[in-house]
C-alpha cells in the first residue's frame, strides 16, 4: 500500500514501561539518508519524539499549549530540552482554544498537545472551532503503541477517524524516521493556502522509536496546490462591473485578515469610495471609525450594514464563505447584486451564493490585480449618501437610564474607552459576544478573537491566554465573557495566574444563557427552559480564590473606576459585571430571515 509501512518495536510497546529505550532496539533502516540533515543542527535527534520537537523548532514555534498524559510522554520528554515554552493548561479543550487564538493573533499556526483517548477527544471542540474559522492550528496527540491500535487499549481512541471531519488534514504517524517530517508537513498545511487545523497522531512506539533522521523543512505535500493569482480575464470583467456599479459594497470576511489583505482592501475602498461591510470574522479588516465603514452585517449586524448588502447592485466579497448567519435566507440575500467573489478556496466559490465573477486566489494578490484593472471609480455618490442616511436612520444608540440596571452596551463602550486602539478582544459565545461586536470600535486586524462558525461557549478565557502570548507586550488583552460561557472554562484562570498573564476578563453576568433566553422570549412564548441559572457564583471572589484580582460592578457609578483598576492590575483580573438580565441584542434577523427586514425590537420579530 503505502511507503509508510508501520514499524513496530514490540519491546517498547508496554504502556507502563516508558522509562528507557533499550539499546537493543532494532537498528534503524534509514540511517543512509541522514547525512544532509545533521550538519546544521547541534544536537542530533535520537528518537521520533525528538524529531517531532525538532520539526516544531525548525518551523519557528515559540509556544505550545497542552496537557500531559501517558501516550504523549515521550514528546513531553523531548520538549524538556527545547526552547519552546510549553503552557500547561487545565483542560485540553482550552489548549486547543489557546493555540487557535495564538494562531489568529500571530498568523502562525498555534500548537496544542494532548495524550491519547480523552486527551485527544477533549481537543476536538477546539479543533472543530479552528476548522470552522480557518484558523491555523497543529494538534499533536499521543496514541497507544501501534501494536495495540485497534484492540481497544487503555486510553485508545481512533483519533484520526474522530478528527477527520474537523481537520484540514490529519495523519497517523507510522514511522519513527518519518514522524518529524509528518509534523513539518502538518505545520505547512495548517498555514498555507486557506489555513486550518491539522493533526498528527503519534503512537508511543513511533515517538520512542530510535531514529537519527532529522525532519524535513515545513513543506506541503506535492498533491496540495494553492492558486495565488486569479484569472486575468475574470479580473478584467469584474473591474468593468465595479466601474459601472451604481450601488457598490465591499464585504470583507476573515480571509482578508488571514490573507494579510486588510491594507490593500482599505486602500481600494478609500480610493474608490466604496462602502465597506464586514462579516464577524472580518471585524478589524476595515477601521470601524471610518466614514465608509458600515460595520458588521448579518443576524446581529447593524441595520445600516444589512440595508447596504440588501440593496447593493455590486458586491465585492473577499475571503468570506457566505455563512448562514451572514446571509440569512439565501433567497433574499443581496438579491439585486452581481457578486464578485475572491477566495483562495475554490470550493467556496458558488457554494452558498452564486459568484458572477469567481476570482480564486490569495486575497491580497487578487485585490492588487483588481486594483490595477479598475481605471475609474464607480459613480456612487447618491448611494454613499444613502448609506450615510441609513447610518443615522438605524443608529445603534441605546437607552441607559440611571435608575435601571447597568446596560451591557455601556460596559463594552467603557472597556473600549479605557483601553488603547490595538487592544485585543476575545469573547465567548452569546449575547455578550454580539454586544462586543456591536459596541466596541475595531480599527485593526487581529484584534478581534472569537469563535465564529462553531459558536463555542467557553472560548473567551483560553483564547485570551493564547492571545496574550502572541500579542505585543504593550498590547492589552480583554476577554468580554458571558456568565454561561465563563463557567465552561474558568478553570483556566489557574493557568493565567500561574503564568502571570496580564488579561482582564469582564463577565457580563445576567444569570441566564442570555441568547437562548432572548430566543425563548421571541419564539417560545417566554418559556425559559434550562436557560435561567437563578444563581451564579460570585465571580470576583472565585477569581480571588484562584489568585487573580476580583472586581464587581453593580451600578453605573462603579463602571469607569472599576474597569480602570482591573485594566491597570498587572496580572489576570476578573470583573463580575451585573448587567440588566432582561437586556436583548438588536438588531436581529431571525434564522433564515430577510436581512433587510431586521427587527429593532421584539415585536418586530
Amino acid at each position: 500500500m503505502s511507503e509508510r509501512a508501520a514499524k513496530v518495536t514490540p519491546t517498547e510497546a508496554d504502556e507502563q514501561d516508558d522509562d528507557q529505550i533499550t539499546d537493543s532496539a532494532a537498528p534503524d533502516a534509514a540511517t543512509d539518508d541522514t547525512e544532509s540533515a545533521t550538519a546544521t543542527t547541534p544536537t542530533p535527534v535520537t528518537n521520533g519524539a525528538q524529531s517531532v520537537v525538532r520539526a516544531l523548532e525548525n518551523a519557528g514555534v515559540e509556544y505550545a499549549f497542552g496537557v500531559q498524559g501517558g501516550a504523549i510522554m515521550p514528546v513531553y520528554d523531548a520538549l524538556y530540552d527545547s526552547e519552546i515554552y510549553h503552557v500547561t493548561m487545565a483542560h485540553e479543550q482550552a489548549a486547543a482554544h489557546a493555540a487557535d487564538a495564538y494562531g489568529i493573533v500571530s498568523g502562525e499556526p498555534g500548537i496544542c498537545l494532548a495524550t491519547s483517548g480523552p486527551g485527544a477527544t477533549n481537543l476536538v471542540t477546539g479543533i472543530a472551532d479552528a476548522d470552522m474559522d480557518s484558523d491555523p492550528l497543529v494538534a499533536l496527540t499521543g496514541q497507544v503503541p501501534t501494536e495495540f491500535v485497534g484492540n481497544d487499549a487503555f486510553q485508545e481512541t481512533d483519533t484520526t477517524g474522530v478528527t477527520k471531519p474537523v481537520t484540514k488534514d490529519n495523519t497517523f504517524a507510522s514511522d519513527s524516521d518519518r514522524v518529524g517530517t509528518d509534523v513539518s508537513e502538518a505545520f505547512a498545511l495548517a498555514r498555507e493556502g486557506r489555513p486550518g487545523p491539522t493533526l498528527v497522531d503519534l503512537p508511543k512506539d513511533v515517538t520512542n522509536g530510535e531514529t537519527e533522521t532529522e525532519p524535513d523543512e515545513p513543506k506541503t505535500p506535492d498533491t496540495y496546490h494553492v492558486q495565488e493569482r486569479a484569472d486575468a480575464e475574470i479580473v478584467a470583467a469584474a473591474a468593468e462591473r465595479l466601474e459601472n456599479a451604481a450601488r457598490p459594497v465591499m464585504l470583507l470576511g476573515g480571509g482578508v485578515i488571514k490573507g494579510e489583505a486588510s491594507e490593500a482592501c482599505r486602500e481600494f475602498a478609500i480610493e474608490h469610495e466604496i462602502p465597506v461591510v464586514t462579516t464577524m470574522p472580518g471585524i478589524g479588516a476595515f477601521p470601524e471609525d471610518h466614514e465608509l465603514s458600515m460595520e458588521m452585517a448579518g443576524m446581529h449586524g447593524t441595520g445600516f450594514a444589512n440595508m447596504a448588502i440588501t440593496h447593493c447592485d455590486t458586491m465585492l466579497a473577499i475571503g468570506t464563505r457566505f455563512d448562514d448567519r451572514l446571509t440569512g435566507g439565501i433567497e433574499t440575500f443581496a438579491p439585486d447584486a452581481e457578486i464578485i467573489h475572491i477566495d483562495i478556496d475554490p470550493a467556496e466559490i458558488s457554494k452558498n451564493i452564486y459568484a458572477d465573477y469567481p476570482l480564486v486566489g490569495d486575497a491580497e494578490t487578487v485585490v492588487d490585480q483588481l486594483s490595477a484593472a479598475v481605471e475609474t471609480s464607480p459613480e456612487a455618490k447618491k448611494w454613499r449618501a444613502q448609506c450615510q442616511q441609513w447610518k443615522s436612520d438605524y443608529s445603534m444608540a441605546y437607552d441607559a437610564p440611571e435608575d435601571e440596571p447597568v446596560q451591557p452596551e455601556f460596559v463594552v463602550e467603557a472597556l473600549d474607552e479605557a483601553t488603547a486602539d490595538d487592544t485585543i478582544v476575545t469573547t465567548g459565545v452569546g449575547q455578550h459576544q454580539m454586544w462586543a461586536c456591536q459596541y466596541w470600535t475595531y480599527t485593526e486586524p487581529r484584534t478581534w478573537v472569537s469563535s465564529h462558525g462553531l459558536g463555542t461557549m467557553g472560548y473567551g478565557l483560553p483564547a485570551a491566554i493564547g492571545a496574550r502570548l502572541a500579542a505585543d507586550d504593550d498590547q492589552d488583552v480583554v476577554c468580554i465573557d458571558g456568565d454561561g460561557s465563563f463557567l465552561m472554562t474558568l478553570q483556566e484562570l489557574s493557568v493565567a495566574v500561574r503564568e502571570n498573564l496580564d488579561i482582564t476578563v469582564a463577565v457580563l453576568n445576567n444569570e441566564y444563557i442570555g441568547m437562548v433566553r432572548q430566543w425563548q422570549d421571541a419564539f417560545f412564548e417566554g418559556r425559559h427552559s434550562a436557560s435561567d441559572y437563578h444563581w451564579m457564583p460570585e465571580f470576583d471572589k472565585l477569581a480571588e480564590a484562584f489568585g487573580a484580582a476580583g472586581f464587581r460592578i453593580d451600578d453605573y457609578d462603579d463602571v469607569a473606576e472599576t474597569i480602570e483598576a482591573a485594566i491597570d492590575y498587572d496580572g489576570p483580573s476578573v470583573i463580575d459585571v451585573h448587567i440588566d438580565p432582561e437586556a436583548n441584542v438588536y438588531p436581529m434577523v431571525p434564522s433564515g430571515g430577510d436581512n433587510g427586514q431586521f427587527a429593532l425590537t421584539e415585536d418586530q420579530l
Binding site: M1, S2, E3, R4, T160, G161, K164, P165, K168, D169, F172, L189, P221, T223, Y224, H225, Q227, A230, I234, G303, M307, H311, F322, I330, E331, T332, F333, P335, D336, A337, E338, P346, A347, I349, S350, K351, N352, I353, Y354, P358, L359, V360, Y394, S395, A397, Y398, D399, P401, E582, N584, Y586, P587, G596, Q597, F598, A599, L600, T601, E602, Q604
Partner: protein
C-alpha cells in the same frame, strides 16, 4: 425603559426587486427555477494509502451528496488508486463535489467523465436452478457467464452498463433470485482522453476559476 433600537420598522423600508433560488443564483422573481439533479460519473486519482477511501466516503456523507455507487481499485501505478463515483446532484452540487474532492490532500486529480466514457459494472446473480436451460439462455442473451451451479442454484456473472445489468436482473427475476452482489460502476475515458491523471492538474486549476457550465444533458450509459 425602551427596549431595542430606533429606526424605520421593517414594513416601512424599501425592498429590493430581485430574488435568488435555493442555490444562491439570482433568478427572475416570477419563475421558480431550480436545477434538476442529473447523474454523472466522477473519477478521482488518489494516493494509495490507508484512510483515503474513508476520507472520500466521509466527505460524501457529511456534505449530504447523493451517491449511487463508489468503487475503488489499484491502477497501473502501485502508489495510486482510482475512485469512481456515480453521483446524482444538480449542477451546483456536482461542482461542489469536484471542488471538495480536490481539497482532500491525498487526492491527486478529479474529473467528471464525458457522457461517452466507458462505464462498466459487474454483477453476480444467484438464481434458483429449477429451469437450468432457460437460465442459461437468459445468461447468454446478456453475454453472461455461469460461474457456479448446483442442483438448487446457478450463479451468473454479468458485466456491462448499469441499464444492461438492471435489465438482466429484471429478466432473471422470473427464476427467483436468491442473492445479488453488484460492484458498482467503474469507468474510463475513451481513446487518448485521460480519465483523471496528474497531467490534468492544469485543467483542474483552470476549472477552479471558471464556473463549470455543463449542458443539462442526461448522460447516456453505453452498452
Amino acid at each position: 425603559m425602551k427596549r431595542g433600537l430606533d429606526g424605520p420598522a421593517p414594513e416601512e423600508r424599501p425592498t429590493p426587486a430581485g430574488r435568488r433560488n435555493k442555490q444562491g443564483i439570482r433568478i427572475d422573481p416570477e419563475v421558480e427555477a431550480t436545477h434538476d439533479p442529473r447523474r454523472t460519473v466522477i473519477s478521482a486519482l488518489v494516493k494509495h494509502e490507508p484512510g483515503v477511501l474513508s476520507d472520500v466516503s466521509g466527505l460524501f456523507s457529511r456534505r449530504q451528496f447523493n451517491i449511487e455507487s463508489l468503487t475503488v481499485g489499484p491502477t497501473e501505478d502501485e502508489e495510486r488508486a482510482r475512485i469512481t463515483v456515480v453521483v446524482e446532484e444538480p449542477d451546483p452540487g456536482i461542482d461542489q463535489i469536484k471542488k471538495q474532492l480536490r481539497k482532500l490532500v491525498p487526492v491527486i486529480s478529479v474529473r467528471e467523465l464525458e457522457p461517452d466514457a466507458m462505464r462498466r459494472e459487474l454483477a453476480l446473480v444467484k438464481v434458483s436452478a429449477d429451469r437450468p436451460d432457460q437460465v442459461a439462455a437468459v445468461a447468454e442473451m446478456y453475454g453472461g457467464k455461469t460461474v457456479d451451479s448446483c442442483p438448487e442454484t446457478a450463479t451468473i456473472e454479468i458485466t456491462g452498463a448499469r441499464q444492461k445489468i438492471e435489465a438482466a436482473v429484471e429478466t432473471f427475476s422470473q427464476f427467483g433470485i436468491r442473492e445479488i452482489s453488484r460492484t458498482g460502476l467503474t469507468a474510463l475515458a475513451r481513446g487518448t482522453d485521460e480519465t483523471a491523471a496528474p497531467s490534468s492538474a492544469g485543467v483542474a486549476a483552470d476549472e477552479m476559476n471558471r464556473q463549470d457550465e455543463h449542458p443539462h444533458t442526461q448522460t447516456a450509459d453505453d452498452d
